[in-house]
């Protein structure tokens, strides 16, 4: 452990006692953790070329200076390999960006959890699952990178359920919520290119998201049908976006993406279509006046509040719809993932260092 900054350590008899101790102190997500011994933390730090005592972020709401060492400790606990650490650190940096509003994401009564989307060559080095069951179990990278961010939010950010994390329900993505984009199956430019990066740039992108909602469409054989199904799933009556506006993700399966791509629809056209279609009648949203007059200042001023048939959009612009491709080759399903809402949070990305693309770690 030579060379590491001084950091408080405690002793326990064995693995089981470490876990009992950590659970009792609220330092876990409820699942067993890997004990962050000096040796394992030292090995974890070999995965990143940054000084252990470098402060990379202030983590809300507790407002803790998160050092590389602090994040490495939590990454060990999550079960990460050392090569995952730059991605975890990038995710923490993105989460601490004021635009993401981690303070609000941690504290809200809404269900949202940070969805991590990984793009670029690093996906292959880390074997991030971008294909079959990518939102489910089975991939160590997906499982532990997302879990490491959550442990940072708990231990450094102080997100304690019922105390500072006031989510009415939360959702299973609060254990881990991390996928890679299936760039190879996409007819569009991948997310990092849409966000202004080079295709060979590895990135991590965070979105405060509801749980993924399956969109079944085995009937449509063109973009209009498929995207109408997705737009409808995004703009359901209970969607947070319908009441607060804001960003949303549409995750196209490779089969759906092939159909949309074969019709030569660009990603821009897809986003514009979703913006136009993901709307609800003013009368539906206000229960036709059953509970009194509703204005809702979050909706655009141009929505005619006197016309029950006026259509209310769920976002302010086509740019608020993020379209990625992920999932397995088989299945005419896509996913609709509404967000937390306009002004509450925005999608934030961070470029990862080039050395993550070399697969040397």
């Amino acid at each position: 452990m030579s060379g590491l900054p001084v950091q408080e350590m405690i002793e326990a008899a064995d693995f089981a006692e470490v876990n009992e101790l950590f659970h009792a102190r609220g330092w876990t997500d409820g699942l067993p953790v890997v004990p962050p011994t000096g040796e394992l933390v030292q090995r974890m730090l070999e995965g990143i070329r940054r000084a252990p005592d470098e402060v990379v972020a202030k983590v809300a709401p507790r407002i803790t200076d998160a050092t590389v060492l602090d994040i490495a400790i939590n990454a060990v606990m999550a079960g990460c390999r050392p090569s995952y650490l730059p991605v975890v650190v990038g995710a923490v940096e993105a989460a601490a960006d004021p635009a993401f509003n981690l303070n609000g994401v941690q504290a809200t009564t809404h269900v949202s959890a940070p969805l991590i989307v990984i793009n670029g060559p690093v996906r292959h080095c880390l074997q991030v699952n971008c294909g079959a069951n990518c939102f489910g179990q089975g991939s160590r990278a997906n499982a532990t990178i997302g879990r490491a961010l959550r442990l940072v939010m708990i231990n450094l950010g102080g997100g304690v359920p019922g105390v500072t994390d006031k989510a009415t329900f939360g959702h299973p993505g609060k254990y881990t919520y991390c996928v890679g984009e299936n760039e190879e199956a996409s007819p569009f430019e991948p997310l990092q290119v849409e966000l202004g990066y080079d295709r060979m740039q590895s990135t991590v992108t965070l979105f405060a998201a509801e749980a993924p909602h399956s969109v079944t469409d085995h009937l449509s054989n063109d973009p209009v049908g498929i995207l109408t199904s997705i737009a409808d799933a995004l703009s359901n009556l209970g969607s947070n976006n319908m009441h607060l506006m804001g960003q949303a993700f549409a995750v196209l399966s490779p089969e759906h993406a092939r159909t949309v791509g074969a019709a030569r629809w660009s990603k821009r056209k897809v986003k514009e279509f979703l913006f136009e279609k993901a709307r609800r009648r003013f009368g539906d949203l206000t229960f036709d006046g059953r509970y009194g007059k509703v204005y809702n200042r979050h909706w655009p001023a141009w929505v005619d509040r006197d016309d029950p048939d006026a259509m209310v959009p769920m976002a302010k612009s086509p740019d608020d719809f993020f379209v990625i491709v992920a999932g397995g080759d088989a299945g005419r399903f896509s996913l609709a993932i509404p967000g937390w809402g306009e002004l509450g949070t925005r999608v934030v990305s961070r470029a990862l260092p080039d050395y993550v693309n070399t697969c040397e770690l």
Binding site: E8, M9, A12, F15, P36, I63, D65, L156, L343, G344
Partner: protein, 95 residues
């Protein structure tokens, strides 16, 4: 053989702030009602203001609303609030 493990909680850096002392009297005081933007919190605040003004007619009550309930108020907004030099601030949350 024991396991020596790191404590994973880092170091807190935020300054702790104590609650302001209660006002000795409402007479001639300036009271700010700070609505965080939640639907019903604002109603509760306005009602609270009415009750207090009924008790102390010289109480100056004014109402402010955060731009959005889910975001921390920015420095400019806080400066504007402080410029009104309230003796006390009451806020409320809740849907």
């Amino acid at each position: 053989m024991t396991l020596k493990v790191y404590v994973p909680v880092g170091r807190e850096t935020a300054e702790k702030a104590a609650a302001a002392p209660a006002l000795a009297s409402l007479k001639d005081a300036r009271l700010m009602l700070l609505d965080n933007g939640k639907w019903n919190g604002g109603k509760l605040l306005r009602y609270t203001g009415e009750i207090l003004r009924a008790r102390a007619p010289s109480l100056e009550v004014y109402f402010e609303r955060k731009p959005f309930f889910s975001r921390t108020a920015d420095a400019e907004f806080i400066s504007r609030l402080l410029a009104r030099r309230p003796h006390a601030v009451i806020t409320a949350i809740g849907d």
